[in-house]
């Protein structure tokens, strides 16, 4: 099977939350008590965040003020990075990227170190204290392998979510970008399998700013910078040591002369 992707066109989303409900139904996620979102820009967002029971939710974002106020609805979930930061960080290969697109979690390998939670640039994975497992959107691999769309995609009444090949999704996003629209996931973290198109900049929707490097490149650059700082520090310290040695020698010879 070819690598699958989902194109999320925020211009089409009406905020019906069918995807939220479909996800809970298919993945057997329970209801949880939610809290009022304290951010006035996001107060209609419910639930406010991911949890072991919430793989996806729709952010209800108020953009602009007064007359120009408009709503933007943005479904969020695991973006299923092409090169996932969580899978790179995972010491056990419990998290892996499959050829078909989903980043899947294999509980039997997991040690519960929590590094994936800190490593994900999008803040997605959660640890379920009850079942002692990492929980996040799965991209419904069991449905994909049967030729079905993920539960949320099938439930979407406006085709804001569409399943297609990764190539096609990237091409469509690039075309949208060329038309002056904003995209998310085309470049972020080396590209993801869920790609967004929007008329509103993603910074205004509270999406984290993530650089274009894939994790391996990010780590390598970090290591290079660590090494450069080490080399500069060593040279500076060596220089100071030689200087202080020379000075004390000079002082000694001066003392010897007098």
């Amino acid at each position: 099977m070819m690598a699958k992707a989902v194109l999320v066109d925020l211009r089409r989303c009406i905020g019906c939350r069918s995807c939220q409900v479909a996800c809970k139904r298919w993945n057997d996620r329970g209801a949880t008590a939610t809290k009022h979102n304290p951010d006035p820009k996001l107060e209609w967002t419910n639930p406010s965040d991911f949890s072991p029971q919430t793989y996806t939710y729709v952010r209800f974002v108020k953009v602009g003020k007064g007359e120009s106020l408009k709503w933007v609805f943005a479904k969020v979930q695991c973006n299923h990075c092409i090169e996932p930061g969580c899978a790179t960080a995972c010491p056990t290969t419990a998290l892996i990227k499959t050829k078909e697109g989903p980043v899947i979690y294999r509980k039997e390998l997991c040690i519960g170190c929590g590094y994936c939670i800190n490593a994900c640039p999008f803040g997605v994975p959660r640890f379920d204290e009850e079942n002692k497992a990492i929980e996040k959107c799965t991209f419904c691999p069991e449905r994909l392998s049967e030729g079905l769309e993920p539960a949320c995609v099938q439930a979407c009444p406006t085709d804001a979510l569409t399943l297609m090949s990764l190539e096609e999704a990237r091409r469509k996003a690039a075309e949208a970008e060329a038309k002056g629209l904003y995209t998310y996931g085309l470049h972020e973290a080396g590209g993801t399998s869920w790609i967004y198109i929007s008329e509103t900049p993603f910074t205004e929707l509270g999406f984290p700013k993530v650089g274009p490097e894939a994790p391996a490149a990010f780590n390598l650059r970090m290591l290079e910078n660590i090494s450069i700082i080490g080399a500069v520090g060593l040279i500076a310290m060596g220089g100071l040591w030689l200087y202080s040695k020379r000075r004390s020698k000079l002082e000694e010879s001066k003392r010897g002369e007098s």
Binding site: A89, T92, I111, G112, Y115, N118, M222, I226, I229, G233
Partner: protein, 299 residues
Amino acid sequence: MSEPVWGILIATYLFLGGMAGGAYIIGAWSDLFGKGKYEVLARSGAYTSLISILAGLVFLILDLKRLTVAPFSVLNAYIHFPVSIMSVGTWIISAFTVVALLTTLLWLLNGNRILIKFLEILGMVLGFSTTAYTGILLSYARGRPFWGSPLLPWLFTVSGILTGLGLTVIGISIIAKIMPRLDRNFFEFFEQRSKVSQMFKSIEEYSIVPTFLEILVVILFIGTVWGTNGSFALVFGDLSAFFWIYLVIGLLVHLVLSLYNYIKSVEENTIIFGSLVGFALVLIGGFILRYVILIAGQL
């Protein structure tokens, strides 16, 4: 932003692991380049680094959230080498623990000195890697921008060496006074007060440079990640009290004590007492540093 997942157990592990690497480096260095003057320091470096890394591993393993359901899953941490930095670290720390154990055994049994020196060279590389790794682990975590500075591994390394120095000095006194039968060399050395105070005095002098360096590096580190939530919490916010305690009590007090010893000629017992107190504060500071950085990154 995800909720915090790493708390006081991981902070303790980062502190003990970094200190173990530092203590080993101090011990090995003083044996390899000390012209025989610092044998007690060399022995103390090996013993204390072993205890510190073993204790660190206990805290690390206790933090694993699947330990209760799958106790042997911990061995899976070796699998994803060398892609996962945590897997790389697992191998490094395991190798370091073995070398620290062998060095300790050889010292205790008065084994072959050439073999000890060979282990010391290997252990210094592994000890340095262990210490730096604790920082690299955090700097690679892309979901936590506050940790994303190439200076963080160096901050932890300098702190590891300074706390490691403190641990070896405190270790000498504890072994000599409380566990004299572990190694008679410590007891005999500690009986010669002038020798002890002389050594402590020169250690304090040597520690002036890393203390200055740590103050410099911590300021530069915060500069490189300024603007993140963590940086504000650290300097002005909820964690600022801890941070300032670290800076003032953990570093400046030690620096002042060391400089005072360096400039004035102080009485023998005062030197010993002063450096023990100063280094104990350095250890407390080293722990606070790991704790505040770990928590600030997850805010």
